[in-house]
Amino acid sequence: MSLGTLGAILKYAISLENTAIIFYEKARTGTSDQELIDVFESLIIQNQKSIKKLKRTRREHTIEMILEPIKGLERAQFIIKTQSSEGSDDKLLLVLARTMETKIEEYYIAVAEKIGFLAEVSYTFQQLAEKHAENLSIL
């Protein structure tokens, strides 16, 4: 399904962040490695901040009545996987987390490019892409 409006793009971004939070919440209870628990907890806080940023963007930057269709963004390209049939050991949790963060970063980069005509919103997505790149670096 296409993501063809600013509202749809932001809603999907919020849903990705929420999915990531749920994953990290579950992951922190599924490991006994304190270092990993700390990492997951910091990522939960980081993604909660991202949601706030996205909601603020939705409130503040839908000033123009944007009608021009945004083309080439499909939900199917950016679906994230938070479970594995191979189990849930620490190594697997990390693989899932890295794949998920990469996918979210890709989404933000793609959106930032597509909505270049809304400079402020595009900048927000660039910043969020950088945040998820940072997330990846600590995983």
Partner: protein, 485 residues
């Protein structure tokens, strides 16, 4: 099924109307009955005026900083409830969620602008204007003001007026649209929670009887109106007779001109937004597209390609680009203009009639993007406000011909030029008789700190809403001349 009859908010209390006359509030996306607006009585209008008048002096003597703190609280309440409030506008009006969010952002911007009152309402003085004489101007509030609001921006338009009125020390009565009143009711619930002093800000539903009472009362000072030119002129005349201050924003027919040197790729999205945003129900919406010279064919082709990609549907779905018209009568009016265009010989190159939503003909009031080519300036669709998603295109020889057509039209709300020539841009802003000029801007909507202008039959009055004009409208300049020897 019991349908709620909306209440008035007068003197800090929710009050049921005693009238038996009501108007249905319909969800235009599916025809569902949402509520009923009471068409209140003369006595109820007098009661609201009495409450607003009684609270005036106490409010007027409240320090400006204290007055605006209520507005800060209200702004915060709007931010906190933003998503819910935007959905409510979509529900009763039909516009998309993004458009409702845009409307609320503009609403909030006006409230923020009104909090600048300690600077904006400041007078001025001069020492020794004559020998030993000092002179100063004080900007004083006047009393009870009121607005009569339209359906197309049910929350933003009242916010062009009431925050400035009460920030400057007046008291106020909002008469919301009787077609889309629910969002204003919700705003008043938030105002009530904040605890504005009783009577400072009041909500009064109604129709012509209420409006006449508000104008005829010796206890009201002025009216702000946004709606049709026909009604606006009647109210303007009546206000003149009664010695009221008045600002009337009427209809519009906004001409958008595209010069041969315009950047087509950047222009098309602007044109689409201008004509089809809010389903064409904006007083700043594009009304006629004037293509200059050879750019006509490439613009026409790109426009049709872009228009067919617009997704029509219920505004509440995030993926939708354009919602329904706000009412059945509005839809019927637009359909009659399309028929008229065909009858007059314009070429219908994109037909938005009988549009299917989710694969079926809908119960809602939908019309898709429509484009007419080979329009001439004497045709009805080039002269009158359609208030729907229709683009009439006229091909003109040069900028002079474009300006002649624009200036011959009775309306003068807005006009835009798309060009890469500074000379053409200056010529346009210099000569075009329209209050809001856009240069490479499709919707020339002034930000809250600037006045929302308008000329000819699009505006009657002396002072516009928003900006410094708005402050002047709600205050009187008192001059004090003093000599202390």
């Amino acid at each position: 099924m019991t349908v709620e009859i909306l209440k008035n908010y007068i003197n800090g209390k929710w009050v049921e109307s005693e009238t038996e006359k009501t108007r249905d509030v319909i969800n235009p996306a599916n025809g569902e009955l949402l509520a009923q607006t009471p068409l209140c009585t003369k006595e109820e209008a007098l009661f609201a005026i009495k409450a607003a008048k009684a609270s005036f002096w106490r409010w007027r003597t409240t320090p400006a900083q204290s007055r605006i703190r209520y507005l800060y609280d209200f702004r915060d309440a709007l931010e906190e409830n933003f998503d819910e409030l935007a959905e409510m506008v979509t529900l009763e009006h039909g516009k998309t969620l993004d458009e409702s969010r845009g409307e609320y952002r503009r609403t909030i911007e006006n409230i923020e602008a009104a909090t600048h009152i300690p600077s904006l309402q400041m007078g001025y003085n001069f020492e020794d204007i004559a020998s030993g004489i000092d002179e100063m101007v004080i900007k004083q509030p006047l009393g009870v003001f009121f607005c009569v609001a339209p359906f197309n921006f049910p929350v933003m338009v009242p916010a062009w007026f009431w925050p400035y009125a009460i920030a400057t020390g007046n008291t106020y009565i909002v008469k919301p649209s009787d077609q889309c009143p629910i969002s204003m009711v919700r705003q008043f619930e938030l105002l009530d929670e904040i605890g504005f002093p009783d009577g400072v800000i009041n909500l009064l539903h109604g129709g012509s009887e209420v409006v006449s009472t508000l104008i005829e009362s010796p206890d009201t000072v002025g009216l702000s109106f946004v709606g049709s030119t026909r009604i606006g002129k009647l109210l303007y005349k009546k206000c003149g007779e009664m010695g009221k201050r008045v600002q009337v924003q009427g209809g519009a027919k906004n001409f958008i001109t595209i010069m041969p040197d315009a950047d087509i790729e950047r222009t098309i999205p602007n044109i689409i937004t201008s004509f089809y945003g809010n389903t064409g129900q904006r007083c700043l919406a594009g009304g006629v597209l004037l293509t200059v010279g050879d750019i006509h064919e490439p613009i026409k082709k790109s426009l049709v390609e872009a228009a067919v990609q617009i997704k029509i549907g219920k505004g509440i779905d995030e993926d939708i680009h354009m919602g329904p018209l706000a009412s059945k009568s509005g839809m019927d009016k637009v359909l009659s203009y399309i028929e008229k265009g065909i009858e007059e010989g314009a070429e219908l190159i994109l037909d938005g009639r009988n549009i299917k939503v989710d694969g079926t003909l809908s119960e809602g009031f939908f019309i898709g993007p429509t484009i007419f080519d080979k329009v001439t300036s004497d045709m009805v669709i080039a002269q009158e406000e359609i208030f729907g998603p229709v683009i009439p295109i006229i091909n003109v020889k040069n900028l002079d011909e474009a300006i002649d057509i624009i200036n011959a039209n009775r309306y003068g709300n807005a006009s835009s030029l798309f060009t890469s020539s500074g000379k053409a841009a200056r010529e346009y802003q210099y000569r075009v008789l329209a209050g809001n000029i856009g240069i490479n801007i499709g919707v020339a909507a002034p930000i809250a700190t600037f006045p929302f202008s308008g000329m000819k039959d699009s505006f009657k009055g002396d002072l516009h809403g928003q900006g410094r004009s708005g402050i002047d409208f709600f205050t009187e300049d008192k001059v004090v001349i003093s000599r202390w020897l």
